[in-house]
């Protein structure tokens, strides 16, 4: 098999791994802060519904976190197995950032996770709240380092090349490279939205099943309000991010907008089938001058076209469609969350149609987030590190059949895990309602701390009992 085949397979494999991985941190980064919020509300005496909400969602958190960890371990190997040239060329930059990610963040999360998940009855409430806070902080710092590295690969700064290897000249410039503030904020908000729609969607699902206890209501309210709050901010930050890309990575913008010719007064292409053979769009529907307006903030601003970057621009169609998917889902999020919020304010509960929409949008955060990452990562091609290292140069010499074999293995495993994750998520949500219903009918267990008994439900046993500590 030819070298291109191996590179393509390596890219597919890496994309599959990192796409599957990001689904889970995307939830945990946002969910960790929501859990802290639930816990603080309960600590402040806002009622046991907050504790019940915490108890369901901490289980979801544990499950999500576990899958995030095991797929994250995979990533630390994939750099070497798939892109040995990456660390050989820019290892001096990427290495420390990855090392700090592992050191400060991963350990903070994994170390305090045990106490957060299982320690409620064993440490004081204050230490337990602190552990929850540290886990949330850890997930966020984790994102900081990873996003700093990814942004550096998009807009490298603070380095010099000596004998073909990058050396840092200023770590501050490396970390706070031009695209970092925008990408980091954009990602954190995306994570918040992913968690918000997940919580709102699952709660709406419980509501529609007739499970209308207070904990469903507080979770639904939290999810809807968080989503309604974040989505306009996200659209604003997304626009700033786009401006930054327009100046720093014009080829990516040209692919996102499917603009082939450099022009003043460039149109915003609503739909098209980009054809890279003909270097033109088929079936184009566009609004004249609009792209120049929102990119350059003037009807006459110049937008560089793809033909300005011969052989050095990304594949157009995937970037173009991924970008439209992200924006489309974002607009849907705006419509649904604001409608739901308005109904909550007006009627105290959402209407049937909005509930159905929320259920349908349970995983909308994933769709938008993955689409967004496809835009930024495919949009960087053919570079691995913009202007420094091409993807093909970094590829390994591993034979294509071997990559294909492991790729197939990962895909099968991930498909099974995804199905299992989603079905278990709904199973947990359904069971939470049933267990609480049983407790309402027969209040044996007295919740002492947040760590009231879930042993019974964990084991599917019939008799709720208070867990004694040895």
């Amino acid at each position: 098999m030819d070298a291109l085949g191996a590179v393509t397979l390596a890219r597919l494999q890496f994309a599959a791994n990192i796409t599957f991985h990001i689904l889970f941190p995307a939830i945990t980064i946002g969910l960790a802060w929501v859990l802290l919020y639930f816990k603080l509300r309960y600590n402040r005496g806002a009622g046991s519904a907050w504790a019940d909400a915490y108890r369901l969602w901490v289980k979801v958190f544990a499950l999500t976190f576990a899958i995030g960890i095991v797929t994250g371990v995979t990533m630390s190997f994939q750099f070497g197995t798939n892109w040995p040239g990456y660390m050989e060329t820019v290892g001096n930059i990427a290495g420390p950032l990855l090392a700090y990610e592992v050191l400060t963040a991963f350990f903070l999360e994994a170390g305090f996770l045990g106490i957060m998940l299982f320690g409620a009855g064993r440490v004081s409430p204050r230490v337990h709240t602190l552990a929850t806070f540290l886990v949330a902080l850890g997930t966020t710092i984790s994102a900081f380092w990873i996003l700093a590295l990814n942004s550096w690969m998009q807009t490298p700064a603070g380095y010099e090349m000596i004998d073909g290897r990058a050396h840092a000249t200023s770590w501050l410039a490396v970390l706070f490279n031009p695209s970092f503030p925008y990408r980091f904020t954009h990602m954190l908000m995306a994570s918040g939205l992913t968690a918000a729609f997940l919580i709102a969607g699952i709660s709406a699902w419980r509501w529609r099943r007739g499970d209308r206890r207070d904990d469903v209501m507080v979770a639904l309210g939290t999810g809807v309000r968080l989503a309604a709050l974040l989505i306009p901010l996200q659209i604003f930050v997304g626009d700033l991010h786009g401006q930054n890309t327009f100046h720093r990575q014009p080829a990516k913008i040209a692919a996102m907008e499917a603009i082939w010719e450099t022009q003043r007064g460039a149109p915003a292409v609503l739909f098209a089938l980009p054809d890279s053979e003909r270097q033109d769009n088929r079936l184009e529907v566009s609004i004249p001058r609009l792209a120049s307006l929102y990119l350059g903030h003037s009807l006459d601003a110049e937008v560089r076209g793809l033909k300005d970057f011969p052989g050095k621009h990304p594949p157009v169609a995937p970037v173009f469609f991924a970008f439209r998917t992200m924006v489309g889902v974002g607009l849907l999020m705006l419509a649904v969350s604001w409608t739901a919020w308005w109904q909550l304010r007006r009627h105290g509960q959402p209407g049937a149609r909005v509930l159905r929409a929320l259920v349908a949008m349970t995983f909308s955060g994933w769709v938008a987030l993955v689409a967004g990452w496809f835009v930024t990562e495919i949009g960087r091609q053919p570079w691995l590190v913009q202007g420094v290292l091409s993807t093909a140069q970094a590829a390994s010499s591993t034979p294509a059949p071997r990559i294909a074999l492991t790729l197939a293995m990962y895909l099968v495993l991930y498909a099974v895990l995804l199905v299992a994750f989603i079905s278990v998520l709904f199973h947990l949500a359904g069971k939470a309602g049933d267990t609480l219903a049983a407790k309402d009918a027969m209040p044996i267990a007295t919740p002492s701390l947040m760590g009231v008994d879930v042993r019974a439900e964990e084991e599917d046993s019939d008799q709720p009992e208070v867990t004694g500590h040895a």
């Binding site: 499950l63 090392a99 299992a420 042993r455």
Partner: protein, 340 residues
């Protein structure tokens, strides 16, 4: 050896120590998780709950030591990471498959539908076994410098089995500490079997290793090294004997409610792992890729290493401190896990 007074000389050495430490801690800590996972295949459903509960609060952090070890290889020795990972491509993939399966089974087995639980228990066991075998296999390939001859691969596969036995010994030892009653007695039996297998494995590997690698043969059998190295196998043999005696006496002791000896097999197993690790480290030094890339050739630039070192110096003591804190919080016999 380069000038160790210069940063370019001592920094790589410092990171080799950090990497070695992380890998050793990983092997011991996740070793008991993986061993316990393998033993899960022999346990009934009731036992499996308490067994998994005994590692529940720890395994996330335990597995993270692997990320630190590989992270140091990736970040401090970037020029070797690609070579090592390329040479170990398939066993790495197998190990990751095993670790993913084990990790997710941990959560799925209690959260999924009850009738799926036996399947997740099986996945937990199979995942642990695959991870343990492939880790040993990789170690074997590393010792022989990644040359894939049939004899080398057989040697590597045998190390895989030996390591899996060693993990079972750690896992059974952990159960002796963290459980009581019938599970504990079963763990005594498992520990005995695992002890014999591990002893046989270590002995065989120790005989085979110098025969497989000419470089290691010279390192071991030159005078005066041989006199410095001789205590390692002797102490190891003593530890095995100690563990054996402890295991013989344990059922009677436990029947009288005395737990003092329950620590002995785990302690001995940890000591055996530490000694074997030192023997190995001595044999491989200073190579990252045996006979091809040494640690100074593989190292990242000094300015990058010193930047990481600041973080390591601050964070590593903290990590160790709160790891100890977490172990103290979950001290004592395992009880069923509860979220909260």
């Amino acid at each position: 050896m380069p000038d160790l007074t210069q940063p370019a000389g001592w920094l790589p050495l410092a990171f080799l120590v950090v990497m070695g430490l992380a890998i050793l801690i990983y092997v011991v800590l996740d070793g008991y998780d993986l061993g316990l996972g393998i033993l899960l295949g022999l346990a009934d459903e009731h036992d499996s709950d308490i067994m998994v509960a005994s590692i529940g609060p720890f395994w996330d952090a335990n597995e993270t030591w692997l990320v630190l070890g590989i992270g140091v290889l990736l970040t401090a020795f970037p020029l070797a990471h690609g070579v090592v990972m390329g040479a170990l491509y398939l066993p790495v993939a197998a190990m990751l498959f095993g670790l993913i399966l084990r990790g997710v089974s941990f959560d799925f087995r209690v959260k999924a539908h009850a009738h799926h639980k036996p399947w997740w228990n099986r996945a937990f066991c199979v995942g642990s076994l695959i991870a343990a075998l492939s880790q040993g296999y990789m170690l074997g390939l590393l010792v022989v410098g990644f040359e894939r001859t049939p004899a080398n691969m057989l040697f590597a596969a045998f190390i895989g089995l030996a390591l899996a036995s060693g993990y079972c010994l750690l896992g059974a030892g952990w159960l002796l500490i963290k459980t009581e009653g019938a599970v504990q007695l079963r763990a005594v039996r498992w520990a005995k079997h695992a002890l014999w297998l591990t002893a046989f494995g270590i002995a065989a590997v120790s005989v085979a290793t110098p025969l497989m690698s000419r470089a290691i043969f010279e390192k071991w059998f030159d005078v005066p090294q041989i006199f410095l190295l001789a205590p390692i196998p002797l102490i190891t043999a003593g530890l095995f004997l100690f563990a054996l005696v402890a295991l013989r006496r344990l059922p009677a002791q436990l029947a009288q409610g005395r737990e003092g000896w329950a620590w002995a097999p785990f302690g001995a197993a940890v000591a055996i792992f530490v000694l074997a690790f030192h023997g190995l480290a001595y044999s491989l030094f200073p190579w990252i890729v045996p006979q091809r890339i040494d640690l100074w050739q593989a190292a990242a630039a000094p300015e990058s290493l010193s930047f990481i070192l600041v973080g390591v110096a601050i964070v590593l003591p903290l990590i160790i401190a709160y790891t100890i804190f977490a172990y103290r919080v979950f001290w004592g016999k395992a009880i069923h896990l509860e979220y909260g």
